[in-house]
């Protein structure tokens, strides 16, 4: 079964903004419990984008909902409607054009498309993640509960097969799960396309550099200089367990060439997350469960959401160390990004200003739901659990069995 991203964006009635914030705060636990009850949601959040003035135009406050779920979008709308019920009214009564008699129709109307969407364990449903965690725990318990002295890895593997797969509770594990592999043909085609485009891309990068990058206003604040109240608001929600979330909104740099650039790299991202980044790493970063980029306010602003393992410092540090160039290509098209050179260079590699930039444009997430508050599986754990499941039912050589046991 596939995982999808849903993003809803509704305009908040001007005088109801504070009330909506209060509701999301007071009903936080109730809403999380309701989201949990769907049984298909990995992550979800409600984020309020405050009123904002862009180019002299007053933009109304917006309520963005996002979810990462299993199954079809239509079913997901129905599930949200039936499981959240009146809670949806409580929230969306504060939004323009809400139709309490037909909640689903309203929600559908507010749907916007993601510019790009990444998932760290494609194909794994909430149910599967839970099952495979239980399986791994069971295998671990069997290993710890028995004396294996004198046994070969192959014998141990076979014995685990007998013990675990004959347990009716783990009947399902006899069938291997489908996991996507790297699509080398697709990768080759993208490579060829990029080779053909290379001369244009180089010219484009030079053009952007001289006409845009050199003139852009860039981040000169360091982390010390960030607003204290803003930072206090951000960190008060962080590090309660082993995962965190990140919501960020930025204005795009002016000009059609910037829009063309960012759209080109969104397209690249959409292609690469399908053919290359399918094994739990996004450009080398091994901690992201789901992430998405969304264009809002007529593509004049960029919204970025992610769900990740570990702390903010760890996550942003990984970004710089492993994929600074990739960040530059996309985020470099937003205002105040640290100075980039020819699209890929500079930018995020200016560690101090990049960290300050990331925090400066971070916004509060009014409600964050993760199935992992209790399930507590890192993206590495989830992917490892699937491999354990798939290898358990196989016939393995001694060497393969050794590798299998090393995973547990």
């Amino acid at each position: 079964m596939k995982q999808y991203a849903l993003t809803l964006n509704a305009q908040i009635i001007d005088q109801n903004i504070d009330q909506l914030k209060r509701i999301l705060k007071e009903q936080n636990q109730v809403l999380k419990t309701a989201l949990e009850s769907l049984g298909t949601i990995h992550y979800a959040r409600w984020v309020i984008i405050d009123k904002y003035t862009l180019d002299g135009e007053d933009l109304p406050a917006q309520l963005v909902f996002s979810s990462n779920f299993d199954g079809s979008v239509d079913q997901h709308f129905q599930d949200l409607d039936s499981h959240l019920g009146d809670l949806l009214n409580t929230i969306y009564e504060n939004c323009e054009g809400y139709t309490p008699n037909d909640r689903v129709a309203f929600l559908k109307k507010t749907r916007i498309k993601e510019a790009a969407f990444y998932q760290g364990s494609p194909g794994r449903t909430v149910g599967q993640v839970k099952q495979e965690r239980a399986l791994r725990d069971k295998v671990l318990a069997e290993i710890n509960g028995n004396n294996w002295s004198g046994k070969s890895a192959k014998e141990i593997h076979r014995s685990l097969q007998d013990k675990v797969l004959n347990d009716p509770q783990f009947e399902w594990a006899k069938t291997p799960a489908k996991v996507p592999g790297v699509n080398y043909l697709g990768l080759l085609l993208i490579g060829i396309l990029l080779l053909i485009l290379a001369p244009f891309l180089i010219l484009w990068a030079v053009f952007i550099h001289f006409f845009y990058e050199r003139r852009a206003e860039t981040m000169t604040d360091s982390p010390n200089q960030l607003n204290d109240a803003h930072m206090a608001k951000m960190v008060k929600d962080e590090d309660f367990f082993d995962q965190n979330q990140f919501s960020q909104i930025m204005d795009m740099q002016k000009g059609l060439p910037r829009l063309i650039t960012v759209n080109f790299f969104y397209l690249q991202t959409r292609l690469l997350v399908k053919v290359l980044f399918v094994k739990g790493k996004l450009m080398g970063i091994p901690t992201i469960h789901f992430a998405r980029w969304i264009q809002v306010n007529d593509k004049r602003r960029m919204l970025f959401f992610s769900n990740f393992d570990g702390s903010w410092t760890q996550y942003l540090g990984d970004f710089i160390d492993k994929s600074g160039w990739g960040l530059n290509a996309i985020f470099g098209n937003t205002i105040m990004f640290p100075k980039t050179y020819f699209l890929f260079f500079g930018g995020a590699y200016d560690e101090r200003h990049f960290l300050a930039w990331s925090r400066k444009f971070q916004i509060s997430t009014q409600l964050w739901y993760t199935v992992h508050q209790d399930l507590s599986q890192s993206i590495k754990n989830i992917n490892n659990n699937t491999i354990i499941r798939n290898e358990l039912s196989k016939n393995l050589s001694e060497k393969q069995a050794e590798a299998f046991l090393a995973r547990i």
């Binding site: 294996w148 570990g310 101090r352 507590s376 754990n381 046991l405």
Partner: protein, 475 residues
């Protein structure tokens, strides 16, 4: 290569004072800023700088955010210090990040804590006077002279914490400690390239491993004698108070030696219930990453070669990629993964880990004991006065404590915090705390590891340069 101005650095940042066996750390409160500045002016020529190698005594001084304020630094200038330093170690968020829960909670700290208690609260810790001596008598003689000057100079002694280097530099659990230290490029004898780090990782005013200057407190609102400070390299219109200074982390860690060795013995006892001394030492060594002698498991996986070892010339990438020698979750390996950080290549790993190094300056406290399976009942409380230097509290100390020590998902692990400094007294609901010993054909799981180290106090200090100390006297 960047030239480091050793003469302007307080020596403790670049040397551990191995010959100074005894130290007294006095936590002081500034009750009268003007008197305290005068006292500091009189102290300056006794402060040990990086070029001096005294035989008998060393003296250094560090200051907290509240201390700078009490000495008269104005808000606009205080604001230029890092957020971590300004907020202090005891905030609610930092408590989660550093894992200081239950008995270790800042609400229970004896000093530096988040509490209304005047004796224990963070706001009343201003200065850290560090008096070192080659032996206890020499240290005390020197200390007594300083103590007699405090009250008359507007300073209140809040607490004294003594630190000693134990015999063979072993900490109380019985392991040789403080072996691996990063070398600062341009300071002292050149070390191994893998272990030699840009000065900006430890000293402000120099470029770090990213090739940029770390955040530094500049003086944005003129006060005091501005000519005493050098111009900031990035913004020459401002004076750089931070240059040649460093951030100093101080945490008082109580060590439960009895619990530590009792746990090891219980987990390794033979089928008939008798103690397996050798196995208990091996399990403890697996958790630490070195044998009691200091010999690294990565080189000596089976038994302690004995004697004393300062062996720091090893990696994991080629010798121990599967963790069968030194477990991934061991204290040593996770707090400095060297050339085997996650699944990165050796050179890439080194580049990454160099951004998260700290210079450690721990000293033990309490009645000395060299813990072992047969000797684990200390007289009274024992522990470690942990200290470390770094240029960026968030990227270095806090990152190491959170992401490498506390985070149970480190490397490819599931439920494994650092068995020495990362376990919680009471695990989170539904959580388990394990230690995995990678082995063939199956890994061994040590279940329900306990908390052997309790945090009793702590604070973030700034460790100013000689010039900056001098500047403070002119505020």
């Amino acid at each position: 290569m960047q030239t480091v101005n050793i003469k302007d650095i307080q020596a403790f940042a670049i040397r551990g004072y191995g010959r100074m066996r005894n130290a007294r750390y006095s936590l002081l409160k500034v009750e009268d800023g003007a008197l305290a500045r005068k006292w500091l002016a009189g102290l300056l020529d006794q402060i040990t700088d990086g070029t001096q190698k005294p035989e008998n005594n060393c003296l250094n001084l560090a200051v907290t955010y509240h201390g700078l304020k009490a000495l008269g630094m104005v808000d606009a200038n205080l604001r230029n210090f890092s957020r971590e330093f300004r907020e202090g170690m005891a905030t609610e968020h930092r408590q989660r990040l550093l894992g200081d829960f239950d008995t270790s909670s800042p609400e229970n700290w004896r000093w530096g804590g988040r509490t209304a208690n005047e004796e224990h609260k963070e706001e009343n810790i201003h200065l850290l006077l560090m008096v070192f001596g080659k032996d206890e008598a020499t240290m005390l003689a020197e200390y007594n002279e300083h103590e007699s000057n405090l009250a008359s100079n507007g300073l209140k002694l809040m607490k004294n914490l003594d630190g000693v280097l134990l015999e063979d530099n072993k900490e109380h659990f019985g392991f040789r400690d403080g072996i691996s230290q990063p070398r600062i490029k341009g300071v002292g004898k050149p070390g191994h390239a893998n272990n030699t780090v840009e000065p900006g990782e430890f000293l402000l005013g120099y470029k770090n491993e990213y090739g940029v200057f770390p955040d530094t407190p500049v003086i944005s609102e003129a006060q005091g004698d501005m000519d005493l400070l050098a111009n900031d390299d990035e913004d020459p219109s401002k004076k750089n108070f931070g240059r040649n200074g460093s951030y100093l982390v101080f945490r008082q860690m109580e060590q439960d030696v009895d619990k530590f060795w009792t746990f090891m013995k219980e987990k390794t006892q033979k089928a008939d219930g008798s103690i397996d001394e050798e196995a208990s030492i091996k399990m403890a060594a697996k958790m630490v990453g070195r044998w009691p002698s200091g010999a690294p498991l990565a080189k000596y996986p089976d038994a302690d070669p004995g004697g004393l070892s300062d062996d720091d010339d090893f990696g994991y990438h080629d010798q121990d990629a599967d963790g069968h020698r030194c477990p991934y979750g061991s204290h040593l390996r996770r707090n400095n993964p060297r050339d085997a950080f996650e699944d990165n290549g050796a050179a890439h790993s080194i580049r990454l880990t160099k951004k998260h190094r700290i210079i450690r300056r721990g000293r033990s406290y309490g009645e000395p004991i060299v813990g072992s399976p047969t000797n684990h009942s200390p007289k009274g409380e024992v522990g470690l006065h942990f200290m470390c230097f770094n240029a960026d509290l968030s990227k270095q100390f806090e990152f190491v404590q959170h992401t490498w020590a506390n985070f149970p998902k480190f490397q490819n692990l599931y439920s494994d915090p650092d068995p020495i400094i990362g376990t919680r007294q009471i695990p989170r609901e539904g959580d388990v705390q394990n230690f995995t010993i990678q082995d063939g054909p199956v890994n061994q799981t040590v279940e329900n590891i306990e908390q052997f180290v309790i945090i009793r106090g702590g604070a973030y200090f700034f460790f100013p340069s000689i010039a900056a100390l001098n500047y403070l006297t002119t505020l």
